[in-house]
């Protein structure tokens, strides 16, 4: 038999698992899009994607969706992560790895500071 606290614990645990099914696809959501075409995947997009999903879930970020897109045409810069915050211009990060993905969520999504060091550089 479960106690009242057990039920509350189940609720908290499960809420992070069903966060994907949030139906509020309004205009106020932040989207994190990972290039997941062959080029992206072979450059290591899959662990990046998984890291982003986990970070968003463990921080219980509402209104943030992690989704995939196809090839952006800059295959040499993959893995590419694009961040769309409502009302702001999109930000494109390149050569992302799991560690950088964590920083992007912490600095950009949570605190609103763009991680300038991961942007495309004009060589």
């Amino acid at each position: 038999m479960k106690s009242i606290d057990d039920i509350k614990a189940i609720r908290d645990k499960m809420q992070s698992e069903i966060i994907l099914r949030d139906n509020t696809s309004g205009n106020d959501e932040t989207r994190i899009v990972v290039g997941m075409a062959t080029c992206g995947i072979s450059a290591g997009a899959r662990p990046v994607f998984n890291t982003l999903v986990e970070e968003v879930a463990t921080r219980q970020l509402k209104n943030v969706k992690v989704t995939r897109s196809g090839c952006l045409g800059m295959c040499k810069l993959e893995p590419i992560v694009e961040v769309f915050v409502p009302g702001q211009e999109k930000v494109t990060y390149v050569h992302v790895d799991s560690e950088k993905a964590k920083q992007i969520v912490a600095n950009h999504i949570v605190n609103g500071n763009i991680c300038t060091e991961y942007l495309i550089t004009n060589e």
């Binding site: 038999m1 609720r11 499960m14 809420q15 698992e17 069903i18 994907l20 696809s25 196809g70």
Partner: protein, 594 residues
């Protein structure tokens, strides 16, 4: 951690379109690709848009795929799950927009709905109690058991203005209050899931999609009135609903949310399922309880009301599935929240099963006070094939028709009664210009004649006589005197039948007489069926456009058509059975129905 969730509808509508196989195929392919740690496949309850089932929704994108077949699964897995490209071909196409709609929430069908009773249907896995708990499930029960007295629960329900969703609209709070005030002792909580109206499937969808909401509300009811035993009376024709209820009860017991000493609070409550054999009269409360007792399902007169003397002679409350499904949220969000939706005397939302001549056949939940026009034109997507709306039938065999002139009436209990129909349990059958209203009345009367339990004479014999009058009219053999006699008989049955079944059985006749008397008169005076439905009043004739190809004569199942090649053919009216095969085969449109 899952990065993507595939929701497949496992409601009865989609299930009968093979969604079970689709779910199996998704699971197999996901496992084969080694993605079973990343992608979750969930079988849900009904999403409401049964017309385009089987339905598959893929999150996080929320992509809404319709009419999915087993063969489409590999494309969705390869394209969407692996490569992240939406399968445009399978996306749902909204009638009002030219391009495909990406997400469910973008469709007109969903935009104007407010989902309270159906909030979890199509969202959670009904066979997993943890998912229900994740959406605040059982929090209302915890709140009631730890912080509220029975009187407080009754007060919240009274303030919320919740009325019974089974059709009659009795205030739920009052019902609970009566039962609560009875002396202590054995009392019962019953749930009416004997949904018998032709075309209605709201209760089935709730039980299939969100069974725990009903269990939670019944436990709250048990605490409020002082009962330790509940019964769900559900028809055996709902195998999926029965199965999911059983699973839900077992899981709730395992978690200690049902049974002895619930959550350590000292409150005991258990729920059992009783299967009905599908008799319509068992949806009537006294007959339902007689059936639970193990006797033949026959009604008996009230008073005494069930709240005083119900199941096994003990105080009992009986509520409809949809009523229960509203209660946990009223407790959690408060009476004001619920009372803020709806009209002055009808609060909250109502679920309707849309059927008949409508584009989006399915399940819709709207705030009370929404107009019929919004339901039919915006949510329902209008009448297919450019036909004209004629009437909507609500309340099933107990209800009546709402004609086009009342399209803008706000839907609530009192308004529907004032125009001669009723809310009923929520079946809504839409009819277009091709429907004959006498034929519709006859259809419902055939149903009540079949389903009359036979205990009282006005219903057993009265409805049969009524059907005979209708039959006479559709055969063109009735007189105007018959029409008057039939109307008198309607009022006689209404006044004298024992239970709700008989008292409301003449309603389909009375309401069609009220709005479509001209059609009845056309059948009687002119021996003509204006909609061209009643076979006995029809004639099929071949016009001069006939080229004499003989195709109709060869297709006619009774050899009623004859003639010479390249000359006009003829139909022998004595042999013709009016099946319409000749019309559908004629290449020249040379055969007409008169």
């Amino acid at each position: 951690m899952f990065r993507s969730t595939i929701l497949c509808c496992g409601g009865t509508g989609c299930h009968s379109n093979n969604s079970g196989e689709i779910i199996k195929e998704f699971k197999a392919q996901i496992a084969q690709k080694g993605l079973d740690k990343d992608v979750e496949v969930v079988e849900t309850g009904c999403h409401g848009l049964c017309a385009v089932g089987p339905i598959v929704i893929v999150y996080p994108e929320g992509a809404f795929y319709s009419n999915v077949k087993v063969e489409d699964v590999s494309e969705i897995v390869d394209e969407h799950i692996i490569k992240g490209r939406l399968v445009q071909r399978l996306l749902f196409k909204d009638q009002s927009k030219s391009e495909a709609v990406k997400a469910l929430s973008d469709t007109n069908f969903y935009k104007k709905q407010t989902r309270v009773a159906l909030r979890n249907c199509g969202v959670i896995n009904p066979e997993n109690i943890d998912e229900y708990i994740a959406y605040d499930g059982y929090q209302a029960l915890i709140k009631v058991l730890t912080t509220m007295k029975p009187e407080d629960v009754v007060k919240v329900l009274l303030d919320s203005g919740l009325r019974g969703r089974g059709g009659a609209g009795f205030p739920t709070g009052k019902k609970w209050q009566f039962a609560m005030m009875q002396p202590k002792g054995q009392k019962y909580v019953c749930c009416n899931a004997d949904e018998g109206d032709p075309g209605a499937f709201m209760d089935r969808s709730v039980l299939e999609g969100d069974p725990h909401a009903v269990l939670e509300a019944m436990a709250i009811a048990g605490y409020t009135i002082g009962s330790n035993q509940g019964y769900i009376y559900v028809r055996a024709e709902y195998p999926i609903a029965v199965e999911r209820c059983k699973i839900a009860i077992a899981q709730a017991k395992e978690y200690g949310l049902l049974g002895k000493n619930i959550l350590g609070t000292g409150f005991d409550f258990d729920i059992d399922i009783r299967l009905g054999a599908g008799a319509f009269v068992c949806g009537e409360e006294t007959a339902l309880m007689t059936s639970i007792e193990g006797k033949r399902g026959e009604p008996h007169p009230r008073p005494p009301f069930p709240a005083v003397k119900g199941l096994f002679g003990k105080p009992t409350i009986l509520n409809n599935v949809e009523t229960y499904a509203n209660i946990p949220q009223i407790i959690l969000k408060g009476a004001e929240w619920f009372a803020s939706m709806g009209t002055e005397k009808s609060k909250g939302t109502k679920v309707f099963a849309l059927g008949g001549k409508i584009t989006n056949t399915g399940l819709v939940e709207i705030p009370m006070g929404t107009t019929l026009r919004t339901v039919i034109e915006d949510i329902g997507g209008g009448i297919p094939n450019g036909k004209k709306f004629k009437a909507a039938q609500t309340g099933g065999p107990s209800g009546g028709c709402i004609p086009a002139e009342h399209l803008d009436i706000p839907i609530d209990y009192d308004n529907l009664i004032s125009i001669g129909s009723m809310m009923g349990s929520g079946g809504m059958i839409v009819m277009d210009e091709d429907n004959c209203m006498v034929d519709i009345a006859k259809f419902f009367l055939e149903f009540t004649v079949d389903e009359s339990c036979g205990k009282c004479t006005p219903c057993r014999i009265g409805t049969r006589r009524l059907l005979e009058y209708l039959d006479k009219i559709t055969r063109g053999q009735a007189t105007m005197q018959d029409l008057d006699d039939m109307e008198k008989l309607c009022y006689y049955i209404k006044d004298n039948a024992l239970c709700g079944l008989g008292q409301t059985a003449p309603n389909p006749v009375l309401s069609t007489l009220r709005y479509f008397r001209d059609e009845y008169e056309a059948h009687i005076k002119e021996k003509r069926c204006p909609a061209g439905v009643c076979k006995h009043l029809l004639r099929y004739e071949i016009t001069d456009a006939c080229k004499g190809c003989s195709l109709c004569a060869r297709k006619c199942p009774v050899n009623a058509i004859s003639g010479e090649i390249k000359q006009k053919f003829n139909i022998d009216q004595d042999k013709c059975i009016k099946c319409g095969v000749c019309i559908s085969n004629c290449k020249f449109g040379a055969i007409v129905k008169k």
